[in-house]
Structures are given as C-alpha cells and as structure tokens.
Amino acid sequence: MRFIPALGILIIAGLLSWFVLSTNGVDNRFRVKLGLDLAGGTELIYTADTSNLVTDKPGALNSLREVVEKRVNLFGVAEPLVQLEKSSAVAGDVQDRLIVELPGVTDVKAAVDALGKTPVLEFKLVSGQTDTGAATFQATSLTGRYLKDAQLQFGKGQGSAPAGQPVVVLNFNDEGAKLFEEITRKNVGRQLAIFLDGEVISSPVIQEAIPGGTATITGTFTPTEGRDLVRNLNFGALPVPIELSGSNSVGPTLGAVAFQAGLVASLIGFGIVALFMILWYRVPGLVATVALFIYVLVTVALIKFIPITLTASGIAGFILSIGMAVDANVLIFERMKEELRAGKTPHDAAKIGFSRAWPAIRDGHFTMILSSTILFWMGTSLVQGFALVFGFGVIVSLLSAVTITQTFLNTILPNENRGAWKFLLSSGLHTK
C-alpha cells in the first residue's frame, strides 16, 4: 500500500502538466505574461509634481492614473499597464511616480506625445482689471481634477446659446459639484473664467448659484474645435502635472530572441543538471530528476496562475533555482549514503538521512527566502522579476524536497541492500 502516496503525486503532476500545456492559447488567461524586455514594448516612468497639492493627494494621484489610463486606451495598445509607485524613502525626498507599460509600442516619441501632453483645466474668478485693461484673476480650488466628463451639445436657441452653436457641457464629480455651487453662490454677478493650459477659453458671468455640478461653456468655437476640446477634457485634463523621468524600450525582435534564448537555456540547464544527478547518484538521482521535473511544473504553473510577469532576469532566476533545487536532494542523498555505509537498510537510511539533513535544508532555504524578499523590496522591475521567480522557486523546492523525493524513495527502495541495489544506491565513481 506504500505506493499510494507516490501514485497521488504522479496524478497531481499529470494534472499540472495538463494545466501548463493546455493554457498557452493567445486568449487564454493563464498564458505566461511576458515582460516588456521579452515581448517588446515601452516603459515610461513619470514623476508627478505634487508640490501644489494641499489636500487629498492620494485622490489626485488616483485620478491621474485613471486619466492616463484613458489616454493609453485611446492610443490603442493591447494590455497596457498604468500604475502608481512611490520612490523609496531611503533615497531622500519621496517622489510619486507613474509607470506606464505599453507592450508592442516602440516609438517612444509618439507614445510620449500621446500621453504626456498635460492640458490643465482651471477655473478662476475675474478679480479686476490692470491699468491696461487686461483682466486679473483669482484662483479657485476648482480644477480639472474634479471633472467627471465633458460633452459636446448644440444650442437649441434657448438661453445664451443660439441654435446650432456648439456648447461644451462639463459634469463635475460630487466634490466638484459642491465646490462649483459654493463658488457660484458666493460670486453671483462676477465673471468665472475657464482656463485651459493657462489660456482663457471662456469667461461667462455667473447669473445665479448653480447646483447639480454641471457647467456649460459657450465659447465661440467651431464644431471641430468643440469636439477637440471635449476630447482633451475627457482624456486630457491631468489633475497633477507629470514629467518624464525615464523610459525603456525594447524592439520586438530583440525581445523574441531573448525569450527564445531563455527557453533554450532553461531546457539545457534542466537537461545537464538531470544528467549529472542520474550519473552520479543513480537511482536516487533518477528520483531527484523526477522531483525536479515536478518542481519545474509547479513553478511554471505558479507563474501562470498568480500570474508572475516573466522577464529575462526572471528566467535566469528560474534556471538558477533549478540548480539550487537539487541541493536539498544532494544533502539527503549524502546523508543516506552515510547511513547505508553504517549498515542500515535502504529504507531506514532514507528516513534517517532525511531527518538529519532537514535542519540544514530549513536554514539554507530560509536565508535564501530572506534574501529574495529583500531583493524584491529593492525594486526595479528587472530586479523584482528575478527575486519573485527565485523566491517562489526556493519555496517550491523546499516543499518538493520534503514531500516528493521522500515519498518516491519510500516507495521504491527495497528493505535490504543487496544485489543490483548495491550498485544502484552507491554514487560517483564507486561501483559498489
């Protein structure tokens, strides 16, 4: 009955291979996600200037992210990624950053132009006139960050807008609506100028307090201008000014070559490690190879399932972890050999060898997990890609060394060490 656990592991391994092999379709949600360095694409790193924000910084940054995301979608990229990031506190002032990943895009300038234009929408009260007759303005707290959306409509001949005249309708969010009502209530009779990128585009007189959070701009623009304005307002008004502070772009061929090379290196790395283990440790080496294969399956399944974005450095971390994953097995086998030499039966030797090797396996793996955690904390995508794959690899290897190798050895090892087993259980250059 002792073969049942081993059978269970083999069945699980079969299911895992099925999962790994059957989820590679283009539309499959468990397809391996490739980083920009392998898939080709552009990463843009912006620094957000939050020095003028007094209140609700997280809110402003979040709406910044949303606006940029809208622009990215407008740019037409598959699976873009827009995320906020804080610079590390160890490096002086904490800066807020916006990371934009654009798979498949390699024209940095076009991407920067499409995303980086920062039309700023502001509302200012006309406070008086200078000697030359130009208006002076007084800033209000109402800005583009409170804008929910803008729409283009055409005047129906009622009110101030003549029939057919384009009218831009601004809808504020709840907070913006409150601010707008307050400003209009307190300043009836004054002019409220609407600024886009520091230019006045319209400065209507406030007739009465306006509740409901809707304002209309009836400038003198053509339908085309009106449409552009609406588009810019919807996709353009950034609540926080941003500045490009770094960019990385990798061409599709270079990425594909790197990915191909990573795959080949993984296969060869696995192959020669397995060959070495089988030649040196014979039957236990074969068991270790099977365990290593299951280890690879589990790691790949995890990469697909979580999902972890795979980069060139991640693949290197993976191959390195293949080399290291057998360490636990080597430790167990060396201990086993000592026990065999002391005259124990193979079965007992495996058992004792395992328990003797355990403290070293535990401490060694634990320090490696510690270092990969710290590496992950260090931050850039290149380093994180390595740390994540390596860290998960170490954890999986700890589990596979504990369970898989032991179970298989339990199943196949004989109760007595004689005949062919003597050769099969010794190692290295010895023949018995």
Partner: protein
C-alpha cells in the same frame, strides 16, 4: 582533515585573492551603468554591414552629441551611451544615424532600433542607494538569523561567533567576484548594472546556504560528542565536519555551475554577465565555505577557551 591541517595556507590564499580583488577594483574601478547614474542607451541593429565606430562617433559629435560613447555589440549592432535624452533628442540622434549611412535603397532604413533606455539622474541615484541598503540589509539579517538558529550551540564558540564569521566570509565572497568583474568589465566594456547587484545578492544567499550546511554538521557533531560523553579537540570536530560535508558542497556547486553555464552559453544576452559573475562567485563561495568558514572558527574558539 587536510584543510584543517593546512588552514594557515588556506588563510593566506584567501588573503591573496582578497588583495587581488581589491586591487582590481581599485585599478579598473566598477563603472556603474546608466541605471545608477542616469543617462541613455540606444542600441541599433544594422540590416547590412554596420559602419565603423569612429565614423559614427564623428557623425554623432557633429550632430551635437559630444558625450556619446559608441560601441559594437553583438554581431551587427551598435550601442550608444549618452546623457539622458529627451524624446526629441532621441529622434534627432536616430535621424543623424540614418543620414550617416548611404542606403542603397532609399526607401528602407539601414537599421532598426532594438533598445532605448533612458534614466533620469534622480531615478538613477535612488537605485544606487537602494542597492547599497539591500546588500547591507541582507548581510545583517543573515547574521541575526544564524546567531538565532545556532543559539543553543554556545560552546566553545558563542552563537554570534558563527554569525560574525559568516558575515566576514560573505564580504569576501562578494568582494572577490566583484574584483573579477572589475577586470572583466575593463576588457569587455561591461558595466555594473542592476543585474550585477542581483548576482552579488543571490551569491550572498547561495554562499550562506553553503556555510550553514557545514556549521550545521559542526553543531550536530558537537551535540553527538556531548551525548556520547566523548572528548574531542574542537579542531578535530571541525575537520570531521568539513570532510563529511565536502561531497555535498562540491556536488551542489557543480549543479549550480552547470545551470549557470547553460545561461552563459544559451541564455539571453542581458543575463550573460550576471551568470558569469555568479559562476565565479559560486566557485569562490564553495571554496570559501569548505576552506575558510570552519578554520576561521578555530582561532575564535581558542580565544574563548582562554577566558
């Protein structure tokens, strides 16, 4: 017993490697890559034969990129490093390159841009500081962890003694490959990039694992001696522990080295230098844990025995 007997020789050998590595770093220097300093890297792959480096250098100089450094890379590619380029500067650099080649067919561009990295100075210095913190943090946590797991073993060496030795060794284990890299980089034009730091940090993890295995054996043998009420010189215990674990230490580093060799010869270009540094480090680290960690325990043990 061989290593314990000749431990003076191994300590001198270590000293020699250490001095050579420090000298290499001092002479050649570790040139930080643009990820740490800020700057731009443009890599273009030519479809036909690539122009000579000096030609391109002149073309770029004439276009106003006087700080550009041009290098051949791969089979038919050119990599150019400059100050941090704005998207506009980047465009004008590319058009300067296009104009420099008389294309046989005007409709095709003579090259494709395969990589463009641009890092602002503030991003760069932040990463450099983080890297130093990370190395320090890893060493400190490892020392504390070792002191913790060896807390029950306080004779004849106190548990923090194990932690301290591990950290001294780890310092050697990363200084030697760093020294090798300084010399290697000097001749190949490689730069110390984030992956280089990753390699050093991964080495810390690997080497400490190696040392732990030996110390674990020392710990076990000390316990055994105590249980059996057996008197054994501390030197003997250490010698035995090293002999017993040597097979494992060598075999594990062989498997890791095999995996790294696969990366060096078949892996992606970007991870090649990483794997080379790791390979040197793994060899040094294995030597280090076999030949140094335990012999270093002996002098400390003597010191404490006197008290």
């Amino acid at each position: 017993m061989f290593i314990v007997k000749h431990r003076a020789f191994f300590l001198w050998l270590t000293g020699f490697f250490l001095v050579a590595a420090v000298a290499s770093i001092a002479v050649f220097g570790l040139k930080p890559s643009l990820e740490f300093t800020g700057g731009s890297l443009v890599e273009v792959e030519y479809t036909s034969e690539r122009p000579h480096v000096s030609v391109l250098q002149d073309v770029l100089g004439a276009a106003g990129f006087t700080d550009a450094s041009v290098r051949e890379s791969g089979e038919n590619a050119i990599s150019i490093r400059t100050h941090t380029l704005t998207p506009e500067e980047h465009e004008s650099l590319l058009s300067a390159l296009t104009l420099s080649v008389v294309s046989p067919d005007a409709s095709t561009t003579p090259f494709t841009e395969s990589r463009f990295n641009s890092i602002g100075p503030s991003l760069g210095s932040e990463l450099a500081i983080k890297a130093l913190y990370a190395i320090g943090a890893v060493m400190l946590t490892i020392m504390l962890y070792i002191a913790f797991v060896f807390r029950k073993v306080s004779r004849p060496v106190p548990s923090w003694g194990y932690g301290l030795i591990v950290v001294v060794m780890l310092a050697i284990d990363i200084i030697v490959p760093a020294g090798f890299f300084a010399a290697y980089a000097h001749f190949t034009g490689a730069q110390a990039d984030p992956l280089f730091v990753v390699a050093l940090l991964a080495l810390l993890g690997y080497c400490v694992n190696d040392v732990i295995v030996i110390f674990d054996r020392v710990r076990e043998n000390l316990q055994k001696n105590k249980d059996l009420n057996r008197k054994e010189e501390f030197e003997m215990t250490i010698g035995r522990s090293i002999d017993e674990t040597m097979g494992r230490s060598i075999n594990t580093s062989v498997t890791v080295a095999l995996a790294l060799i696969a990366i060096i010869f078949f892996g992606a270009e970007v991870t090649r230098n990483f794997a080379i540094v790791m390979l040197v480090g793994v060899v040094v680290g294995t030597f280090s844990s076999i030949a140094r960690s335990a012999p270093l325990l002996i002098p400390i043990a003597h010191r404490f025995a006197k008290k």
